[in-house]
Each structure stands twice: as C-alpha cells, then as structure tokens.
C-alpha cells in the first residue's frame, strides 16, 4: 500500500462529523446505500454526492484523499458505466455510477472520521447477543483485518501492474493476476502470523 486514501487511516480531527456517534454515521451510510432503490433518476444521487463533498469539506477531510480513493475506483466505474450505457441507456448508467460513488464516499467518510478502535468497540457491542456462538472480539478483529486488507490488496495490484508495465507485459492478464494472488496469499499468512504472535488468535487457526 502506498498512498493513504479514505479507507487507509482515520483523519485526526474534532469536526462535527468526528464527534457524531458511530451509530448515527452508520445509519447514514446505510441510508445512502439504499437510496438508489428509491429513486428513478440520477439527479437526487448527484445532489447527495454534492452534499457528501460539502460534508467532507466541513469535516476537513483532505480533498487529496478523496480524489485518490475515487481514482482507484475510476476504472471500475468507467467499465461499468460504459456497459450500462450500451445495455440500458445513459440515464441508467449515470444512476449506477452515481450510486456506487455516493456509497463509496459515504463509507469512506465514515472510516476517515472514526478511529478503527471505535468501530471495533461498536462491533463488539453489536455482536454481544450472539456471543454464545461467536466471540465478539474475533468478529471485531476480523473487521479490522478486512479494513486493513482492502487498501493493501489495491496497492499490491498497483505495484504488480507497474512491474508488468516495466517488462512490457501489461496486456497479459496472467502477469497481473498470478503475482497479485501470490502476494495476497503471502500477506494473509504474514497477517495471521502477526496476529498469532501477539496472542490475538491461535496459530492453529492460520497453519
């Protein structure tokens, strides 16, 4: 992982968004994620996206982080948007692209303005009713590892793509996929070992 994006680390601050309880922010993110099912045109989604950008600015989340995160999502949006345009039409394509962007930015703002430890505490509290079957701390730790892994995997893919380009192999899917998968597996093993070494999991779990 190279550049910090929205999902990499929380932005230290004391804005109104930082002070908003995690539960309220989570409800907001879920509501924004569900919004595309209730609107039939792209305009409301564009308005929500504009609103989220204002929220980001008022919470002093650096614009560079936002742009960096969206840039990594751009290839997916372009391919998806083009396909939907061809298959259904421009309005539908715009709705799909805007729906993904709003959900992505909303989730990014949540992670950027909430320390991971706060999220873990919330997950532990939320998982307490099922503690007879599953250890809430393990659920929380799993979430932490997932949050850590998403930008890492994206970063690993970017490095592999750069290496493939340097060797003139950028059009060979195997030159991109195989090294990325190997790196991800190695990363998974080293993460498991690091967790076990700190007594956070049992080594037998990752052997």
């Amino acid at each position: 992982m190279r550049d910090p994006g929205l999902f990499t680390a929380h932005v230290v601050g004391d804005s109104w968004l930082h002070r908003t309880p995690f539960g309220a922010k989570l409800i907001g993110v879920i509501a924004i994620g569900l919004l595309p099912w209730f609107v039939s045109t792209p305009l409301p989604l564009a308005a929500v996206l504009a609103g989220l950008l204002l929220v980001a600015a008022s919470a002093r989340v650096p614009l560079s982080r936002l742009v960096r995160s969206l840039r990594s999502l751009a290839p997916v949006l372009v391919v998806l948007g083009a396909f939907q345009w061809w298959a259904v039409g421009p309005a539908y394509a715009a709705r799909i692209v805007l729906a993904i962007m709003t959900a992505f930015v909303a989730a990014g703002l949540l992670t950027a303005t909430t320390p991971v430890t706060t999220m873990l505490d919330a997950v532990v509290r939320g998982a307490r009713p099922v503690s007879r079957w599953v250890d809430p701390e393990v659920v929380a730790l799993t979430l932490a590892v997932v949050l850590r892994s998403v930008p890492w995997v994206a970063g690993a893919f970017a490095v592999v793509r750069e290496s493939a380009r340097a060797r003139g192999l950028e059009r060979h899917p195997r030159a991109l996929v195989v090294p990325t998968v190997i790196q991800v597996v190695a990363y998974g093993r080293s993460t498991g070992e690091a967790l076990a070494a700190r007594g956070l999991t049992d080594p037998a779990d990752h052997a």
Binding site: P115, T117, A194, A197, R198, G199, L200
Partner: protein, 247 residues
Amino acid sequence: MRAEPHTPEPAGPRPEVVLRGATVTVPAEAGPGRRTLLGPLDLVLSEPRITVIGANGSGKSTLLRLLNGLVLPTAGSVHVDGLDTARHGSDVRRRVAFAFTDPIAQLIMPTGREDVELSLRRVHRSRVERRRAAEVVLDRFGLAALSDRSVHELSGGERQLMALAVVLATDPRLLVLDEPTTLLDLRNTIALRRTLASLPQSVVTATHDLDLALDADRTLVIDGGSVVFDGTPRDAVEHYRRAVGER
C-alpha cells in the same frame, strides 16, 4: 561495543526457556520422509540478552518461532517458565512478545495509537482505560507525536519503534526479535540498539548484524539447524567469521 553496559532489572525474576530435544521437521519436498529444519536442541535460555547468528536458512527464525509457540516442535518440548508451548500457547504468548523483521507485517491497524490499543484489548476492557494506557506506552517510546499518523507514512526507524511499542504494550517478560535491523539505516540501527538496551525485559535477537550480536550476554551460532557454538558474543562472532571464511 555494547550499546549500554548494564541491562535494567525487571520487576520479577528473569524468564527461563527450556528446550529439551526440540526438533522441527517438515515433509520433504521430493520423495517420502521428512526434512529436519532444526534440532534436536537442548538449551536453557535465561540470560537477559541472547543473540542468535547464522547464515540464511540456518534455522534462526525457526528457533525464535519455537520460543513463543508460533512453531511447535514436532519432537521434544519447549517450556517457558514451566509452561509447555504446545499446551499453553496463549499463556506463553502473553509472556513472550515477538517482533518481525518487517514492522509493517506486525502493524495491523491504520495508526500506531490504534495498534497499541488493539494490543491492550486483552488487558483493559474499558475504552477509556485502554486509551490512557496507550498514551503511557506511546510516551515511553517517544512516539506520542507520531501516534495518529498512518503507519505507512512513518520512516523505517519510526515504524520499527512503533512495532516494538505495540508488542511491548502488554508488558511481556521476554521479547523475541527476528532480524530487527535488516531494513534500517545506520542511524536507526544505533537508535534501536539503544532502545533495546534500555528495556527491562529479557531479549532474544536473531541477526546478521554482528555489531548488534555483540550486545548480549550469550550468543548462539546456528548452522544446518544445530547450535554449533554457544558462548560469549565475542567468541561466537569470531567462530562465525572463521566458519564463513573457511567455506
């Protein structure tokens, strides 16, 4: 020359690691049977500072991983303060902290503060207590100013120090370090040696850095999975240099 002449005394007695016929084997790559990575080893490790030197693939890392139960012996036993690593893995890992060569492999959370707090989850259930305890740990290592920065934005030396703070947050009795200076420049290496020298914990370090190897009370030379020399750091380094020169 050693970074500090005297090792600070811990609150309790020094931990003792006892290896009895400890052997690690893995399935052979070609054909049936098993390949021996390490052992059989009979050792008692109780000195405040122990270093382990040897070539790549000699078994140093495997020996280190035996000490906190990350690797279990396929034959024989390893006991830490009387606790069998095979049966009391969690208790052993509470006593024995392990720091990897690459600190980024060690750091799970986005920032150092959050990572220290993650370590402390086992000790403090209350969020407020955890936060307070994390502040103390970060202050002790002079990392308070860096605690809210992404671990990926820290320099190599800062990251290594943060990884140390993370594993030492729960006050283990023994710290095991696997080649801690490999990724560091000279300035950070010297800083790390000073930090290690100031720790009250017992420390076992595997290293290729022969200056760091001298910061010890006892040094083991490993070759082909066996301890080929066990003695004072100066004699051990001399033995290792001669052995490499003769090849």
